[in-house]
Amino acid sequence: MNLSDYQNEFDNLISKQSYSAVSQPSRKDTFSKFLDSGLPTRKWENWRHTDLSFLNKNNFRITEPGDASGGSIDVSNYKIANTFTVIIINGHYLTINSDLPKELTVSTNSNGENWTPKNKKDTPFELLNASLSDSTITITTEPNASIQKPIHILFLCTGNDDLMINPQVNIDISHSSSATIIEQYVSNTSSFFQNTSVFASIEKNASLNHVRIHSNSDQTANISGLHVTQSDDSTYNYFQLVDGGALQRSDIYTDLKGKNATCYLSGLALLDKKQHSATYIISDHIMPNCVSSQNFKSVLNGSASGVFNGRTIVREDSQKTDSKQSNKNLLLSDQALMNSNPQLEIYADDVKCAHGSTTGALDKEALFYMQSRGINKKEATSLLIRGFVSELINDIKNEDVKDYLFEKFDNWLLNNNQ
């Protein structure tokens, strides 16, 4: 899909009045910015390692409210025990459990009435999202509320059309409250492109556990921008699992705007065939006494490829920062490829920062050690891969979510260790 394809789609939707009148000027302005910037190419530093050929080769129709039909996906396949589930079909809100606690508000706007999408970083895909988005979901907690049960937002893509979907998710965790939010992307369409923007704000002393699961079919592109702003004494725990899709890219921006804030980012990519998964992070330490960590792992099989590009900025005023970056990758095949680039930019002098990266094949010594104890090679391989990933999944606090993630891992392993 090239610029003129996007232009045609945009013109078509604007003329159909699919978007609210109030948002039209902003959309036109945003879209012209997108046209000015153009689509990223390998010559752009931040897109050097991201293979966008899947997007360039395929054409997508931008989704409209009428696309939110039930489709043929069996939702029960994606159920996570003990969660509130919000189901979004083809980019449009469909249903939610009715038993939400009163301290939690989940509001959706699927037709764009009186609503203008947001854009923060002016990157090409964010500009596209902000000009084309016609669906938003907003999750808000009351101050001091502790929401125990996770909120599971299930984005489903179904049907025969190759759709492009541009949802926006707003998460507002009010002061001294806490919540767990799971975003999950699944599909059974032949091909689709999901371009999501998520904006999370975590107020003073509040805490958000955020899990994101990408389990799309092989003919799927998933690009997302995640913007997190943290206030004093707040905590943000993020975990992403990528085990599906042709192309997946996350751009994560965390702004530590308050003192004593904690931000833990982690992720696991389980890739095979020609899958590509790229994670770009900017953790920005603006205030003192904050703790941040990036802990990402990939297991790559077939001719899959991945990118970890984690950047931590420690600004002049952010003394006593404690920051760690770690990226470890396991290559199961000679054709798999990983680009790992942890970066620290430090402008303060009294800080503790560390980073490290390793990429390698399965440890032959460990395999032999296990085999010498009677364990066959296949099982030894499974034990090693499981050992490699379990540290990350074990850190997930919610037991049901943890079980679900291990189940997904086991399924992946079943297909990739034969």
Binding site: D363, A366, Y369, M370, Q371, S372, I375, N376, R386, G387
Partner: protein
Amino acid sequence: MLEVKNLHVEVEGKQILNGIDLNVKPGEMHAIMGLNGSGKSTLSNAITGRENYSVTKGDIIYKNESIVEMEPNERALAGIFMSFQYPTVIPGVNNTYFLRAAVNAKRKYNKQKEYDAASFLKFVKSKLKEVEMDSKYLKRAVNEGFSGGEKKRNEMLQLLCLEPELAIMDETDSGLDIDALKIISKGINNYKNKDRSFLVITHYQRLLKYIEPDVVHVLIDGKIIKSGGKELALELEEKGYSWLES
């Protein structure tokens, strides 16, 4: 039990063993002594089937069957065990989980019912006592953060759980303090019986103060140049290896 016949072994194109003959009968303990680089560890790696240790000539017969073509795990299931000189650290793999997988592989091979988590814990706790090992080591990743002595006790624990018929102790005494050495030796002595054989590979005679080999072999440049009773070990202690080198 174990017959090594004219064994020649190459590692990455380099000839290390130049015709080894050994015959270890059930219930016997043989000690292989030699300096660093003499081929001691190559012999144990060849018997256990480590990758890249290729037998270019000769044979290894275990229980009347050649094992040269067998996978390492098949050799282990048949009853061969090696206590590693440098036990491997396996991050992320829980020690109990690993040990249970190994014991269950063996039980499955022997057509016995596999242990579930609870019954295995009971089984392994009785073995822990014998090697005087704290149960906290079961909760860690395999050999992760273990001291030299703890690693060797963990090897001994695996031996006791897997009940091999042929145990190869590769430089078990290296990195051990005297207390740990006594515990490991006691373990070996208690384990040994008329059906179980040991091949003890060592550089020094130190370990042989606590365990008594039936036969001592001296390995130099990939060949056994002298075999004898346990008095040979004492002679080596006194005179060093140089008197044997031509």
